[in-house]
């Protein structure tokens, strides 16, 4: 009897672990970054030549090295989020890892003297990544001897570029407080409201699925286009039908379509596949790619733009 109970307990524990492991969706990574506006106002921008046009991008590395107020705000937000059981990815560490990786790749060589393969697209994509950006901006307002801070914290979904949370406002005026103290007060004042909205976003995600974008393109070399008929349906209709079947409550919008391209926006993909395995945008789009190859012998190339935009180019790999 004792052995039976022990065995039953172990089986129960095993099943519990299985169910629990299956029920875990991929936890979004969140990172705090200063906004472009803040970097520009404070002179932390890098200028580069973009095909003859001068463009500016924020220089996070220099901002983190030179601005201690920024470090303080990021550290405070990281601390408060960790307290809520949601530790964040640290921008400074992510930047250091990228630099380290670049240095290692530059020096790495195989036994036959070959270097690490990297396409121009890979180089372009080498930036710090997160599922959600907490973008912060602040300005110090001075009115005679009185100072106050206007603080703006935006939660941006990297998948859709939508603002999914936010908290902003101007703190009380102070005669004596230093900027660092005012900033700390601002973070404490706004973080709870920000988290309420962030939680709302997570709950929406669990109910209605993750919102992503799917883009279909055609290689010039393809024999036919998206209007080519397979049986009684065009290739475009087949793809549209698959998206309709594989979205939560069939929620998506086909915002643009021609014989050469299709654009699906506000596509709500499930958080788990049929085997209860966590699903991300690439894995979801890969299912469409497989279906096209297995049922219609159509080769395609699957690429990602950011974390939430899948691009399938049909015709060849």
């Amino acid at each position: 009897m004792k052995k039976f109970l022990l065995l039953a307990g172990m089986v129960g524990l095993f099943l519990g672990v299985q169910v629990n492991a299956a029920a875990q969706a991929k936890k979004p990574t969140i990172m705090v970054v200063p906004s472009d506006a803040w970097c520009n106002q404070n002179g932390y921008m890098l200028e580069y030549d973009n095909q003859g046009r001068k463009d500016k991008v924020p220089d996070y590395y220099r901002a983190l090295q030179e601005n201690t107020d920024l470090l303080l705000v990021i550290s405070k937000i990281n601390e408060l989020m960790a307290e809520r059981g949601f530790p964040l990815k640290n921008l400074e560490s992510a930047m250091k890892t990228l630099r380290q990786e670049a240095a290692e790749d530059a020096l790495a060589a195989s036994s036959s003297g070959e270097s690490v393969a990297e396409s121009p697209i890979d180089k372009l994509k080498k930036t710090a990544k997160a599922d959600i950006w907490m973008q912060l901006t602040w300005t110090v307002n001075v009115q005679g001897p009185k100072r106050s801070i206007t603080f703006n914290l935006q939660g941006l979904d990297a998948y859709t570029d939508k603002q999914i949370a936010g908290a902003s406002g101007t703190g009380a005026q102070s005669f004596a407080s230093e900027t660092a103290v005012l900033l700390e007060e601002a973070v404490l004042a706004h973080i709870d409201n920000f988290n309420v909205k962030l939680q709302g976003h997570f709950e929406d995600m669990f109910t209605n699925g993750r919102e992503v974008i799917l883009r279909i393109k055609r290689w010039n070399s393809m024999d036919g286009d998206l209007d080519t008929e397979f049986g009684d349906m065009t290739l475009g209709e087949i793809i549209d039908g698959w998206v309709n079947e594989n979205t939560v409550n069939h929620r998506y919008s086909q915002t643009d379509a021609s014989e050469n391209m299709m654009l699906f926006e506000q596509v709500r993909i499930p958080l788990f596949d049929a085997n209860q395995k966590a699903l991300d945008t690439k894995a979801w789009a890969r299912q469409l790619q497989k279906m096209l190859k297995e049922k219609y012998q159509i080769e395609s190339k699957l690429g990602m733009k950011g974390l939430g935009q899948a691009v399938i180019t049909v015709g060849e790999k």
Binding site: Q24, P28, S148, A172, D192
Partner: protein, 168 residues
Amino acid sequence: MKNFFLLFLGLCLSVSAFSQAKKKADKQTEAWRYEIEVLSTGAQGTYQIKVWSYSKKASVASEQSKKNAVHGIIFKGFVGKQGVPGARPLADSPNLENEKADFFEPFFEDGGKYMKFVSMTTDGAIGAGDVQKVGKEYKVGVVVNVNVAELRKDLEAAGIIKKLGAGF
């Protein structure tokens, strides 16, 4: 003997009147009859608020303020003022108090767990102008600190409210 009996009777009546006032104050808490005014964001993880409570006895209203403060942070939230943002309630739904009555009844009883998350500033001393006579009752404003970070953790651990990112 007669004096002793009168004294005893007077004491019983006074305890009974106080107890009645306490019960009435509890009912008013349940009926959301209190007001919350934010003063400052306070130290990390706390809200400093002024709670206005009603009772026929000023002392009962003052004591009830602690209960009202925690009740308000969980179910009511507060509006902001110049320089200090408002806050939403910790509970997702205002019906949560009824839905989880098994948890909240002992939590809010006299000397209940709610006491762990609230402290009075200035030892409960009430400022001038913070005791107002409204009709037959007193409206008393007391400044309290609510440890919202610990309160939230406790409610999350008990499964009353969801953790941030629950399900991941």
